[in-house]
């Protein structure tokens, strides 16, 4: 495995009184693409949000690039090199598409230039001066991914990026992620679309009840199909 970029150990998190994560352990190596699988409600989204630092009621250890992230305030995580695409997309309605796209501050060199982004997502170019939330659901998803690509982060965290997207778009996003990977981007994503995930991931974590219950590389996928079918009902 490559040098670890993100190490999470014994991570616990709470929503008020309800304890949702019960000791999550995982590692993401530099340049790897990791997919978390799991049924609805097992805590996948929560894991991502806790790593990013949106959920502050947390205990355990999160190391990014060797640095302890637990005490880092939320607005500094992006500067450390973590980019986040939330499940609900988070497009701003008072901003135009283009303003949305250029909103996140560039934190490091190596981000994708705007022209390239527009090439990748022609829909966005066409509607760039309309208000962000006037886009369709799928267009919003593209915008949400696109805007992080600009910033030059090292680790891209995506929560169900293909949800509600037309198959063509899903394919395109798959290609984009592969391209990013070739450029050395590290990706951590949560995905229900198994076929999509299997095409791009290097490694999988399977989650249940707020913990990682197993971990395996893509090569082991065929032999694990049966158990996965059972656990996920794929």
């Amino acid at each position: 495995m490559a040098k670890p970029l993100l190490e999470v150990s014994n991570l616990n998190a709470w929503y008020g009184e309800s304890h949702v994560l019960h000791g999550v352990n995982m590692t993401v190596g530099e340049g790897e693409t990791i997919t978390i699988l799991g049924r609805n409600g097992v805590g996948k989204t929560t894991t991502l949000r806790t790593i990013v630092g949106i959920i502050r009621e947390r205990k355990g250890e999160i190391r990014f690039d060797g640095k302890d992230m637990l005490g880092v305030p939320l607005h500094k995580t992006a500067h450390a090199g973590i980019g986040f695409v939330p499940e609900e997309r988070g497009i701003f309605s008072t901003l135009t598409v283009e303003e949305n796209l250029t909103l996140p501050p560039v934190v490091a060199q190596g981000g994708m230039p705007i022209e390239e982004i527009y090439e990748l997502f022609p829909n966005l170019k066409e509607r760039r001066s309309s208000p962000g939330t006037k886009l369709s659901g799928g267009e919003q998803q593209m915008l949400a991914i696109a805007r992080i690509l600009r910033t030059g982060v090292k680790l891209l965290i995506l929560d169900e990026p293909t949800e509600g997207l037309a198959p063509v778009i899903v394919q395109r996003i798959g290609e984009v992620l592969k391209t990013l990977k070739e450029r050395g981007m590290t990706v951590l994503l949560v995905e229900q679309n198994f076929r999509f995930a299997s095409r791009i991931a290097d490694r999988f974590y399977l989650m249940d009840h707020g913990q990682m219950v197993s971990e395996f590389p893509v090569s082991e996928l065929p032999q694990r199909m049966d158990t996965l079918h059972k656990v996920l009902g794929v």
Partner: protein, 260 residues
Amino acid sequence: MAVAATHNHAEPRVVLSARGLTKQFGAFAAVKNVDLDVHHARVHALIGPNGAGKTTVFNLLTKFLQPTAGTIALMGTDITKTPPDKVARMGLVRSFQISAVFPHLSVLDNVRVALQRPNGLSTQFWLPTSALNRLTARADELIEAVGLKRERNSLAADLSYGRKRVLEIATTLALDPQVLLLDEPMAGMGQEDIGTVSSIIREVAKTRAVLMVEHNLSVVADICHHVTVLQRGEILAEGDYATVSQDERVRLAYMGAEEA
């Protein structure tokens, strides 16, 4: 499964029809001149690339948006100018693309709130809440049918995203509508729920009309009798799934190379 009350005529007839439906947002036409017929006892799928105007069509049909041009008729009555709550009372009920539940009511109460209306129990401010207890049996039936029995007493807010979608279907069914409009009912659902919901929809559609937007093509192939493909606000193709999925333009615009 006791989801649907029994009606016995299953011959296909048009219950909801739109003619020349158009919606302009400023200079941008999201929906252009769409004709649509939804039949009784049929599952009708509306598919198309993102931004094609599917949700907008839903908003127009349910009157959450006022069409720029065109007419809509529900069971022979013109509803082009009817307010949305009235349309719902006439028997056309929708679900939302982003889940819509009453977060701080329990699952049971979510369903009972929906049941209250057809049962005429909504304006009685002089009755105690226990008057609603007579709706509980029916509510439990619906909850069980969609597989939410375990969560019956939790607050809707505490459900995961996928379970909320399921709950939304249950409340929609509670109204016993003649026409159901479901906006991506399976989005965010796990495989087991997809199975349950598919069979519910199939069951329900025996006695009423269903129009749904769905990106999950295996579901579409599985349960839909008729498919309309939208692209850039216009109808691109229409027919049963087999026909539509062979259409070259549809494959190019929507399904991509590998699917089907």
